[in-house]
């Protein structure tokens, strides 16, 4: 046990400080690397381009793509799954060579190594390296695992079983009894209900606050509380409130003469409890965004609309909503994705681990960690990821959300 002595303070500072400096130094090294290599690489790519020109662009694209595909496949297979290292791992220098080859053979190489772009790539390099390590590598690892049957029974050397896990995501029960599609539907319902209330509630509050008034700052401060509280604490506090005997909600219900509700054991009420909690948590975010958007709408629009004889309702739909679209769209996408993948609320409010209250992400978590069925879980995770990606792309297309407000 340690207490906050000077030694401890300095310990933490030293650790953190040295970390930051190492990162910084590493970054500078990386930058220098890119800086000095650029010109020679550019010259090289020009040369290679000259040699390969007769082959024609089509062929070169083809070869380059094939080589890159080989690199990706290798990367996936070389990552060790289970405890035994993959037999492909020692050949990694080859990959670098193949990657280089693919890069230079491709006709795009000229484009990449332009001298004006050197600074751009230098600026990007640290983030790229970081993302490679912390996002790309885990994704590749998961991809690899999703093709195996890694679980405690097949731990040291799991077997490759191809796409079986992916098929089983849709056919076998996720955990015990409930299969994929009911959970998916429930998750969609969860997301839709929450988002509806988030946007509506946020909009109402934003509209109320969007005026000169006294205590505006105070109201805004208090209303932002649910967002500012660390989520785990908020969720556990709410879980306490839904307790049958001692929770605030049931006590109030009983004082009003209504029967107490079994929030934790009844599937429907549990879902409602989850939703209430998440709505409480999510409204401030929407409110803040919408308020910002409302504040940036010039008053002239409203005045003009009033002069044209528009009612408040018409003003809202004709002026406010379209002008809020560029703000609403990213907020809705983010809100949807965050609600869909929200883990804390469904997991902790569902104290009794009712399978009927699981969303996709909580089911994934239980499957992954309670049974350590990493193969199944990885396939499951990719399916979820794919769904969200498709949704986002569709949403952006359908609403034209990335267009400006003035079109």
């Amino acid at each position: 046990m340690e207490f906050l002595t000077w030694e401890v303070v300095l310990n933490a500072l030293g650790e953190v400080g040295s970390t930051v400096l190492y990162i910084f130094a590493g970054t500078v090294l990386l930058e220098l690397f890119v800086y000095f290599l650029w010109t020679p690489l550019r010259a090289l790519s020009r040369r290679v381009d000259g040699w390969l020109d007769p082959l024609g662009d089509r062929l070169r694209h083809l070869v380059a793509t094939v080589l890159m595909a080989v690199v990706v496949v290798f990367a996936v297979r070389a990552i060790a799954v289970g405890q035994t290292p993959s037999p492909w791992a020692p050949y990694w220098p080859l990959t670098v060579v193949v990657f280089g080859l693919g890069l230079f053979i491709s006709p795009n190489a000229l484009n990449i190594f332009q001298s004006e772009l050197r600074l751009a790539y230098m600026l990007l390099a640290p983030a790229v390296v970081g993302l490679l390590l912390l996002v790309v590598f885990p994704l590749l690892w998961e991809l690899n695992v999703s093709l195996t049957n890694l679980n405690p029974r097949h731990f040291q050397s799991p077997d490759y079983i191809g796409l079986t896990n992916y098929l089983e995501v849709f056919t076998k029960p996720v955990l015990k009894q409930v299969t994929f599609f009911p959970v998916l539907l429930r998750t969609i319902l969860w997301t839709a209900v929450n988002l509806l209330f988030h946007v509506t509630g946020g909009m109402i509050l934003a509209l109320l606050l969007n005026r000169k008034m006294r205590f505006k700052g105070l109201y805004r401060a208090l209303l932002v509380f649910p967002w500012a509280i660390p989520q785990p604490i908020a969720v556990l506090a709410w879980r306490g409130e839904f307790h049958f005997e001692y929770g605030f909600v049931n006590i109030m219900l009983q004082r009003l003469g209504l029967p107490a509700i079994q929030w934790m054991t009844d599937p429907t009420w549990n879902f409602i409890a989850m939703s209430i909690t998440n709505i409480w948590l999510g409204i401030p975010f929407m409110m803040v965004i919408l308020l910002g958007g409302l504040q940036s709408i010039a008053g002239d629009y409203y005045e003009a609309a009033e002069l044209d004889g528009a009612s408040a309702w018409q003003q809202f739909w004709g002026v406010t909503v379209p002008l809020l679209r560029p703000v609403l769209t990213p907020a809705v996408i983010l809100g949807t994705v965050w609600t869909f993948t929200n883990f804390n609320v469904p997991f902790f409010i569902n104290q009794n681990e009712l399978e009927t209250s699981d969303t996709l992400v909580t089911a994934l978590f239980r499957s992954a960690f309670q049974y350590f069925n990493l193969g199944d879980a990885a396939a499951f995770a990719f399916v979820i990821f794919g769904l969200l990606l498709v949704f986002s792309v569709l949403y952006i297309r359908v609403t034209g959300g990335l267009k400006g407000a003035y079109e």
Binding site: G14, G17, Y22, Q83, K172, Q262, T265
Partner: protein
Amino acid sequence: MKTRLIALVAGLFVLGMVLAACAPVATPTPEEIAEAEPESVEITLWTKEGEADGGLQFVQSLVDAYTEIHPNVTFELVNKDVETLREDFLTAGLAGAMPDLLWTVNDHAGPFTDAGLIMSVDDLFDLDMYVESALAAAQLDGKTWGVPISNGNHLMLLYNKGLIESAPATTDELIAAGQELTTSDQYGLVYNQTEPFWLVPWLGGFGGKVFADDGKTPTLNTDAMIETLQFLYDIKYTSPIVPAESDYDGADALFKEGKAAMIINGDWSLGGYREVLGDDLGVARIPEVVGGEWPHPYTSGVYFMIPDGIEGAKLEAIVDFIHFVTSANNQALMVAKLNRLPALEAALDDPLITNDPLLKGSADQMVVGAPMPTVTEMRCNWDGMKPEMQAVLADTKTPEDAAAAMQTAAETCIANLE
């Protein structure tokens, strides 16, 4: 420009290294100890003991005491909650970064042996000196995978002498007494209605078991289970003596506030209740089922487990440490501090236990306990029983349907384990 850059980089590196060296390293470096003595050993011990019931402090004291006697052995003590410990150990196994010793619960042996991450202890210890039931809870495939430290972790009937003079001996007496005591702001009996751990004793009382004789095939859809579920339903709805909804904290709070005459809870809660109720606390067996048997709550305890691959001086140190912890003296210490029953057979006769009515009652209950199965399939049983038990108690399913559903769920889950 270039020289300045290079100088900057060099300067940063030097600064970074200076800072890293200056920061006192959090863990004691083995090198320092190695210089003093030849065979220095550092043991990373993961324990599931927390601070709430004094467990972690006890482990820390053991570790400190051992290091005093053997200065060349130091420990890195890390505590993790039970679920976290299991997950982290398996993850560490994947990365090849396992700790050196585990102090954990028996049902971890199932998944850990499946993954081949721990070693059997039959050859390393003379296991005869430990209590049979404690050993049984850590045996799989004919081998023993853990050295028991404490025995018990079992449920029993605790009662408030201020509200009820003596504990009921049979279920009929329980219901009768409970009904007298249940008023608008008081309950006869409370228990954690959400966990099947509290269902299993009654299942035993009705003559049922969760596994067939092979220890792996679930037998949840049996008459005994239906009767058990019916019984739990009855004490809530037909002849109500328990609250309408009650989890662990709810039951605990009600008992501590004096709003419940009896509670079914485990040996870990003895200390807390002793503090609140003092001499008013009584311990007894869970009442005998009329027409059946004494309920068999699951007994297990905590165990030392040794990860696979440990050898040499480290293994020797670990074996010695385990002997130290399970020696008679330290077992007696554990009884006194943690109110747990010892795993060492010889320590059971210690007057500490025989003279303490609470511990005596606890031991009395343990005698009719059943060792908790440690196979990985057991988890499927737990997960299958839990929602169905809750459904019956929420009056949304009949006991027959629930029992059938439990069985299907467990079977599906076990099939998935492959």
